[in-house]
């Protein structure tokens, strides 16, 4: 236990980076067993650095599918990072050439943790800490997995497969508590993704959930959903505000950026 504990955004970022990064072992192992070389597996983690796309390409190669289709599918899965970038550009505000390395770090985990911070300075620190820790861990784990480290024990045995889902839920939790539109959009996104899981290629249902955000933005463009969106009539969510909301929307100091 260090004497000076790092600030919370950094601590949370490092914790998430380590826990999720270890899953790179699974990617390294899957990549090599699907026919990629150790260096190709590492090149994907170093250069693409977005798990869903990496797994997608490896699985197409494993099934002997077309490389062109595999590449196109993997790139399509990367499109959700474009949508994250729209929001991160405003919050992290990387300038000039700094945008080039920062872009590499625009993924699910960094977005979730960055947007959960209460102010822009914390958000920037959280982004950097999560990106750096996850990047290093993911790449070392990929190399280890490609070299056979997966035989030591599966990430599942340590419960690491639930770290991602738990972290994403934890990081959007405050926004779900404080925003009615947010709750509707999240519920609709989950419903869309699960309803299309069996009919669309792996990964695409989650991208489809973005249409829930589009509907939410068109129905309730006000920042805190103060106007009553008509989609609310179909809402499965609670209509009363969360009982533990501590402050009105416009004055909540802990409101995520």
């Amino acid at each position: 236990m260090p004497v000076d504990r790092p600030p919370r955004p950094v601590r949370d970022g490092i914790g998430l980076g380590l826990a999720v990064g270890v899953s790179g072992v699974a990617f390294g192992a899957a990549a090599v067993s699907s026919g990629l070389t150790v260096w190709q597996a590492c090149a994907l983690s170093v250069l693409a650095f977005t798990g869903a796309s990496q797994f997608a390409l490896a699985s197409v190669i494993a099934s002997g599918g077309s490389l062109l289709a595999g590449t196109a599918g993997a790139i399509l899965l990367g499109s959700r990072n474009t949508l994250y970038g729209l929001r991160l550009a405003e919050v992290v505000r990387p300038r000039g050439l700094l945008r080039l390395p920062a872009a590499l770090g625009v993924i699910d985990e960094t977005t979730a943790i960055t947007l959960a911070q209460p102010d822009p300075a914390s958000a920037r620190r959280a982004f950097s800490a999560t990106f750096c820790c996850l990047y290093v861990t993911w790449n070392l784990a990929t190399l280890g997995g490609a070299l056979g480290a997966g035989r030591i024990g599966s990430p599942q045995a340590f419960g690491l497969d639930v770290v991602g889902p738990a972290a994403f839920l934890a990081l959007i939790w405050p926004r779900l508590k404080n925003g009615r539109t947010e709750r509707l959009v999240a519920a609709a996104g989950v419903a869309l993704a699960l309803a299309t899981t069996s009919v669309l290629p792996v990964g695409v249902p989650v991208i489809l959930a973005a249409t829930a955000a589009l509907a939410g933005a068109l129905a309730a463009p006000a920042a805190h959903g103060s106007r009553r969106p008509h989609v609310a009539e179909a809402s499965p969510a609670r209509t009363a505000p969360a009982p533990d909301s501590t402050a009105p929307d416009d004055a909540n100091p802990g409101e995520p950026v």
Partner: protein, 105 residues
Amino acid sequence: MTATWIAVLATAAGCYALKLAGLTVPQRVLADQRVRRFAELVPVALLAALSAAQTVTNGQAFDLDPARLAGLGAAVVALVLRAPFLVVIIAAAATAAGLRAAGIS
């Protein structure tokens, strides 16, 4: 082997370009209130969907793994109790790992 390298490098280039595209969208585009609201809501929709998909699906099939479901349940309990972020993910992972060690999976 060369074809595979081309696929690997094209995937990497495409994924990077998509990331950079979002980050370099001109701020005046985001000045529109609806676009801004969309950008704010996208992470909520995608991360909620991702959390659900990673919990109850495996590939194109539904896969209700009791240990994983219990892990996410533990995360929800921790969140309701206002536990700090790291406690939430440790509770989730420890619950799943514990159940699996006990032979439940």
